[in-house]
Symmetry: D3
């Protein structure tokens, strides 16, 4: 279950946009792949890419969810951070509750130190100003001061979860950029990455045409003439090693 991404697929996915990925998944009949209500908190840098390592939260219950629970070294919120394989993205189910944190600066620092490729939650995070400065990409519903126990009971990890209204199975590939976070079913990751790279190369060409004044009809999508032109352009690109 904790198979790593191939280096090639990881590299491609770091380059292509989530917009392109949703198009590729749409072509394969998948319409519900982008987490709703989940935005990038950290700024700049390359895209987030990595297989999902999941955490599931239930609603809190006052008698169970007191600060003393963290004294248990097996508490799922803490244990999951220590067990997540390097290069993975932690994905936390918060049932879309935006008014409590799914983590704060200390936990995010530990996660980054352990080599995480990112953190995704459909709940909030606290210490958001500090976290926004981290290198590790963090995507969430927004800042929220209250501690997780005010709303959440971490109950399990490394199992299928719902996040932002989308199913995330352990090992699915998470990709994130300024447009949000997309889930790619694991078995599709390599082919989707390859097709996405091709699509983006073509769109670089189309953007050039559009900037030169071409109308959309015949250009985007392309007619036969534009496609022929593209083949020439592509050959030229490859000749110069682009």
């Amino acid at each position: 279950m904790h198979t790593q991404l191939s280096q090639q697929t990881r590299e491609i996915l770091t380059q292509v946009s989530t917009a392109t990925l949703t198009t590729q998944l749409f072509k394969r009949g998948l319409r519900n792949v982008c987490l709703r209500g989940v935005k990038r908190l950290t700024r700049g840098g390359p895209n987030m890419v990595g297989p999902a390592f999941t955490v599931r939260n239930l609603p809190a219950r006052e008698d169970l969810d007191q600060l003393s629970v963290f004294e248990n070294p097996d508490h799922p919120q803490r244990k999951s951070i220590e067990l997540m394989p390097e290069g993975f993205v932690m994905v936390v189910e918060c049932r879309g509750e935006t008014d409590a944190a799914s983590g704060g600066h200390i936990l995010m620092t530990r996660l980054e130190l352990r080599g995480a490729s990112g953190f995704v939650s459909d709940g909030g995070v606290r210490d958001s100003a500090s976290i926004a400065q981290q290198d590790m990409p963090v995507f969430c519903a927004g800042p929220a001061a209250p501690l997780n126990l005010a709303r959440h009971h971490a109950v399990d990890f490394d199992i299928p979860v719902a996040c932002g209204g989308v199913a995330v199975y352990p090992g699915d590939v998470m990709a994130g950029d300024a447009d949000g976070v997309v889930v790619i079913p694991r078995y599709l990751a390599d082919e989707v990455a390859a097709d996405a790279a091709r699509q983006e190369q073509f769109e670089v060409f189309v953007l050039e045409l559009v900037r030169s004044g071409r109308p959309l009809a015949g250009t985007y999508p392309p007619n036969a003439d534009t496609l022929a032109e593209y083949e020439t352009w592509k050959a030229g690109q490859e000749a110069v090693g682009a």
Copy 2:
């Protein structure tokens, strides 16, 4: 985990209202015990009472959630129905999605035949007109024609779930009436039932006073005089075997 309720507690809980139960749980520091957005579909009859047997749904994914999944005899939606112990209440996590069904008439008929004490979902049900005629109490978000696969992927059962924004652990006691559905943590069921019965006996007395014209002050809550009066009334009630 599948311990039955004591007969005495079940009998009391069938008599007392969910309103009373929330008051008893509030006294014990539990404020989030009543499922939000979950209403009774079936009409009349005694309250629903039984330990929870849970089912968890993820968001559907188009490639996984096709009609053929039901050919698998281990599909969690179907298997859970066959495995639930008699006298339990099935509690289904639908993430509050109201626009698809968590079950229809055939499944509810099978459930009733298997001796279920009720069905609770924070999603919809289909064939709602037929289900509304069943004896087994059904609580849900309302009618919804679309089949579960349009929204849901049944992923597991007999594990903790979120339903209507409240945590439900297997074996917790579910109680339902016209006001909705309340979850009683298993370890509190007996004492909460006993105290609820006492509270309701007192409220029968208070209602008599109020109907006779007594003002609220001193009556509800009672002052020392009213409490003394209640002791007399209670003795009278017991004398006549009420």
Copy 3:
């Protein structure tokens, strides 16, 4: 502030629909007069009519809102019930929170006994099955088992409130039927009632025409011919004492 409605206006308002009242208020430039999310719980009988007597709730705070607060005979929820003048309608601000009760059967029984013309809340009520049997009209967001303290802190009464997204000033006239609850500014009550009665008389006539097969054009709204016909019809109605 606690002036009663004139008997004539009360009688008219008991006959006319809230639909007609919104049209009359719309003619006077008032578009936000109907409480959102507030439905009739009680069934049958004439419309609810009466001047507003208001109660305001804040969000609850755990240290302040314990069951012991009701031992204070001046607690606003209880005191307001004892002080409301006969014939008034209690209007309770619950900030649209639907998951806790603004009252239960004992309080509603006392309110009815004190001669209230109705109860309106944009929160829930508990013991809803019992309350639904009362003669006093009750309008609310729906059933909700949890006691008010789980969400609310009654802080004041007989002051302007927001209910269902609409401003209600003490003494404003509340009118309710199967379509919901409408607020009529006190100073407009007599003239709105008179115009509403005229409008409904005309609509009885129009409905007769429509049932006889007349098309909408020229009938609803009426052209000069239809208006002339109406005058004749009205004279006939008055002749037979209708």
Copy 4:
């Protein structure tokens, strides 16, 4: 565009449930076919069936949407009622705004008189108590006293609309029962009806089996034995002319 439904398809659709219809549409890749937030207001009787005749509302603007607009005999709300072909279902886009009416008793009476097969709106209706007594099926978001002008500007009719989050094209077939309203693309109506009838016949058989104590596995969905049993049962049914 105003082609009538075949008599056979209309008859079948009057018998089968919207639950069955969503399953048939799901098999054909259509997952978003059931109007969200739209409930039956009228009670009892057969299902609603008919091709869609649409009306589109924009948000109201205070300077344009005064009562005088109805003096225009070409006002789209009124004109559409007079022009809708017999046997059609009026479908009104209200952008899911539930706090104003898309029509009242007089308009619904005229619509019924003109032979409408039903009325569907994702907004409210006023005079809901009277409309609930009509024979013509009415589906809407619920009762709402305020007149349409408080929220809506009827701008066009007989064009594609959005209703309850679903696209409705003129002539699409609307089917409604206690579970809600389903849209069948016109070109699929005959085949979906035929398959739905077959599905429901099979489910009658399955329900008999389940009532006799059969477990779900092998029965629902059926294995080869159950299918063979069904063929025998069906032959028997046909022999007795059921």
Copy 5:
């Protein structure tokens, strides 16, 4: 319908704030003029101003809304971009669905090249990081990776639309700044612009007074003394050619 704005009105509207414009429209009885849920994506620069050129989207239907639709050169999303007159603002109805894009970087680039004054949608946009760098002002519900077909079916353009809960008629004047987007009915544009300029000149003066320590009473709104002072100030301003 495609009349351009007068140069003078365009210049004024580029200077005044949307806050001022809502005040001017409020004075004329228009309370619902500012698009809800629509924020500026692009940063800096002068305000967006231009007449509306509209596009309408329906909910997508899986059989109709496949990627091949764009091969049709008359597809409304693409055709509308090519036909919009220079200086106009494209306004797209997305029914407030925030989880899919109404356009991406290539389309926005083409739109800017065609001389558009801006783009407004109550849905999302994709490639948001690139679009945020464009000079052409873009206002939307936020970033959203999924392509439009995941949610939308572009059905028509240059007709009245609903955007952000507000009616937009073709040719209405759109004005946008950091506070959002306001719609000015075309026939009011010149007079509202003129009055807005006067209001803002006065508010510059008031701000000076407030910064010098004046209390609000008598200053904002002004009493007779303040108004006299303003006349003097204004004369001074004009003397120095401000």
Copy 6:
């Protein structure tokens, strides 16, 4: 009621995060202390700290809420600004309505000049680009061009209010940073501040450990060894005068 904060408590609260404050309040049984839907508009600088001075808004009514109301020097919106004691934070109840302003640049300028420690509203603000440049911290639901009268009727001030779903009593201590705004009941302010300072000192130490590679177990929360280590560290810190 208008007692100032002690200088020591104000200084501590300016240093500690709202995240820490919610933890301290959670320890004391207070779970609902952080305003929902309220974000910082102004950037940078120290935290907002000050006792609450409140303003309450009702829904607007068209006949009452015209621009002329501001000619009344006792209008609560204006008068409250002039009467608020220095060092306080204005807290405005807008019932969570985000589509109108609770104030604009002129009012915020006056408030800052009067020595306010901040402004908090669960509604919008207009002139948001100018306000974002002010030194005085402003927290709100976001930018909103429409004037307050489009939605609100300022009815009273210096009374308990609801803001962002949380009760705020006059004199309660408001604290705000990038994570949002927290309310500290007045009677707890000193002890919560003291404990928060201790908690943050410990977390500085923990962050150092985590950055040095320590796992969470035994560190956060600390076991006996870590606690001992902390005592040593703290002594060191104090020795160097940190």
